[in-house]
Symmetry: D3
């Protein structure tokens, strides 16, 4: 089984870190490939960044689909789940976003969870996803730690700040679990959980395992309807394999 | 007052038609400019098309913003309201989508409205927008006429098919108004309304007038928070004015 | 185009102020007439006041409808939107309430707005309207400044108190816009917005512009169904033009 | 214990019928007085009728409150629950509407109920009440029998038509109970229930018993907040005991 | 009329207290019998306790149903409304839970109520019931006084603690009524209400009166569908009258 | 890793079938043990059956927890997810229900799914779970095939009937996936999916894989709050390890 973990931003070191997090939970027979798109922003911290990231990640999926060994599943490793619907159209295999994965997993652990994300300006998008995934009752709060995505790795205080943010979110919201709101926090989930005594869900691990589960069940998405392949047409200023 | 009506697809004849529909309702002092992005699909009929259209429409807004005479408002003239949040980040003036505009206008006319759109595969996106705009109670049904976007103009039966689709939607749903689900239907709103005796809302007209209203009220969007300008960073494979 | 702005209370100086606010945003060809009903309370600060105001405002609309020059649209200029459904029954032209208008306009400006109203006892009614208009997600808070309606004009501290109330509402709720909860605050919207740096929506201006927009689109409400003319019957103790 | 059953329309024979329905379920120590307002429409079949009925019913409550023997509870015997909030402001005793009463009672009988009302044009108001009372999940359908209110008594086919309408509503919706949507149907509840084998709730009986229950529990509504007495002020064209 | 008030726990003194509360509001012709199941926990303070209480309370209902004088209605006197659906299946008479009864009664008194319950760990279950009964808008808060169920009677500070908890809940939430979250608080409702000036609803009284109301209306639950008698089958390790 | 798959009914052949379905998807290192409670109904087709099944399944979990080799996760293999909250209280490891698992998995495959269950009388419970798990928007219909649980295995037409029911559900609802509404249908998921061309989710497989995923992530549920161990007390008529 081959799972493609797509980092929607173009920072290769982050791709490596994300792929490692995926590999650390994958079953023996599951191969993980980390993919960095050839086009897009260095990190995703705005709706604009997300919009510019989507063509690159779709291109990465289409290349895999049309390549020698298409992946059996695709994980979109950015907490905004950018381009999820479009990715499902261009893929014949299951596609999951890490926000989606983390929220579904966290909802299995009790009455409510809290999200701890990077910048406050991303909370609006997280709220939208909470609604979309039916998590309005179970998500009790979304909190920002105000560390930019690319500083998560370099800032020496990241772990301490996140531990404190997760602890206070769990207490304030009375939550049974914490969801980490950025793929760049993947390697800290276990540590934070040990420190605060509340389960902490990282979407990269959750998404890898959910995809592996869908593939194991031999689920192939519906090839007709809303998520069928895009109709062929002319595309200007960009190359598209769906061009007529 | 200058209002920029952006056709998110690259079909120039459709831009012209949309701009004409906007001009037909604009007040004397309001100048309408129709804009066709330099990059994107010929029409938008899938999530993939929408994703590929967004960078082009954002580019069009940024050029206006940084040009000699920035627009006082931007209308996104595709019923999926593609890239609306990102467009608000890069614009200092109000931005409205035509689905948003049409639904809000239709909700002022009674207890419920129906949407009549192009292809059935776009209904999922329309449902999402209905939720986002708080229209779950007031939107009583979304119906497809199954005419592709670019055939709306060329198909000699378009008017007849739409009149029938709108009539049956209004009857089946008991609706007080019809919302047209594609900018390419703008020129038919008046005719359909006369034929079926129920008000028919075209989002291009509604959006032009709502934008004109916001500008008249001298409303400038909040420049801080979620919709502030994107933070500067490196962009790969694309030129971005927000690059550092 | 003739727009009738109906002040549902009987205080003529307030009618004048409201009509002036409407005129200040109306297009050159739009005539505004301010109407004071012949019957009702001096101000509306309770459900009881609202109930006693409705027959008078309906009477004003019916007189216009049956007069020489019926209005092309009616604005109900009280934030409780009193008698809105009944007004739509007796009018052949569009009718909008200022709460409805202000909330729809504010929702176009971002992820959420806050309402700042007069007395705390009116919050329940505002909550009801938030639900009715589908604004539950986008309305983030309703706050009272505790200045009675008729004191808004005479109290020398009104502007200062409202500026402070709007500023703290925007901060506390993280809102992208403020909605003013009383027609008597119409003349302060611009000032407050300048002071707090957040757009402030007055329903009188918003309603006037939305009505003007509907009329420009030549929308006539559905004459059948729930909002058709009332059936004829006997009315006791009151004269009604719908009496048989 | 004295319960005032207010028929919001001015048809005295209907008041008598409603009071009889209330008396038929009241406990031995409970006195029922049927009240016909001095002002209002002969029946309520539109929002306009409802608006014109409210001042008369509020006047009836205020007279009782200021009389020698104020009632211990007031029942508003029209399925639109007209003026409910205002009635609570002017009363120091509990006030219930028959739609409210019937829906709450029916919700105690299983997973879902259906409403069978008079004219189709009243369905919109019933939908609003379903939302207001939290019955969106439990109310599975609202159906009209298209018999006008005042014909319910005179039409020889009323019973047959209603039995059929209730039977098909219960089957179509899979409902565990039927709610009758008009006070004028009160005397048929038992008969319909026997014919269709599904419990049928009449709001006059339900409301009388719920009021009697609240009074027995010695519940007095909160005298402060939203539903406190209206503030004193000037009323024009009408006499109001709350005038200053 | 015979109403069976079932205390789902096995503490007989609590059954006596609950039956007394029911008797204090029952009409002269209504006989109240308090029932203690032969199996179950001494009090219900967890989902586990609730699960172990249900077979005993169902057994008590089935014994009544198959006895000489079946009750005309059953009240489940624990605020978790344990086994309510199953109880309705095995009973041919109406069954009500005290949470259900108290919330419906409280919702008749204004815009919102607060719940004051025993231990904080029971709040999750109360939230679930709030959703189930359509009370999401009207229930403004659920608060715990942290007194265990069986200490309510013995703790000398119970009244003082509850008065304070109810007062602060009403103030914090701006509520028009308080709902007591445990059958063991039944005898304090009147006292608390007098002290805090806000109506206080005890579910035992409310449920007794609602049941009495349903029986007076001669309502018999639907005998078909979801709540029909359980189908016969083999039961292992337990005797069941529905065994084949 | 040891996963305990608990069949909440007492039919051993069904336990064997369920355990086989779990084993067929489990990873090499995952041991599956199928458990049949010592007490309960032969199948679960009513709320009553569910209520009588819960003590037995809780007993099975507690025995595992206090045994030599506690399971690392528990799957409740009945589509009503009976006793889920109580099971979480008595377990220190994750507990999942198959309805919960199947709905979450199906929601990852597109815009909407349909449920196909056994008897129509179980639809009410399924609706409740749809609400609880936030699936109101994504679940588009619940359909019954009217085959009793224990006949699923013996009825020679089971496969044909289910294929037809799933096909028509997918078409009628426009669904992207089917959820099977009974553990006894587990072995048919693959066949049905092949026949109808739409993915079919069996909760036993989905639940096994989700549990395995949570255990792989080393998630341990929060040991405090609502789902902490039950407080010690006296239990009458039953032995409970939580008795004091």
């Amino acid at each position: 089984m081959l799972i493609s973990v797509i980092n929607p931003n173009t920072t290769v070191s982050m791709t490596d870190q994300i792929a490692a997090a995926a590999r650390s939970v994958a079953a023996p027979g599951t191969e993980i490939v980390g993919v960095t798109p050839t086009m897009g922003p260095a990190s995703i911290e705005s709706h604009y960044d997300e919009a510019l990231a989507v063509p690159g990640l779709l291109d990465a999926i289409i290349r895999s689909e049309r390549g020698d060994k298409p992946a059996d599943g695709y994980l979109l490793a950015c907490f905004g789940d950018p381009g999820l619907d479009a990715a499902r159209e261009v893929s014949s295999a299951p596609v999951i976003g890490i926000a989606e994965a983390a929220m579904h997993a966290a909802s299995l652990l009790g009455r409510g969870f809290s999200v701890v994300t990077t910048l406050g300006r991303t909370i609006g998008r997280a709220e939208e996803l909470v609604d979309r995934y039916g998590m309005s009752k179970v998500c009790r709060g979304i909190h920002a730690c105000e560390i930019p995505v690319l500083e998560l790795e370099s800032n020496p205080d990241t772990a301490a700040i996140l531990i404190e943010a997760c602890r206070s979110a769990a207490e304030e919201d009375g939550s049974d679990a914490i969801v980490l709101g950025c793929a760049g926090m993947a390697d800290l989930a276990q540590l934070i959980s040990e420190k605060i005594g509340v389960p902490v869900i990282d979407g990269v691990a959750a998404g890898t395992l959910l995809l592996q589960s869908l593939v194991t069940m031999r689920v192939r998405p519906n090839a007709t309807g809303e998520l069928a392949s895009p109709p062929a047409k002319t595309y200007t200023g960009i190359l598209s394999p769906f061009g007529s």
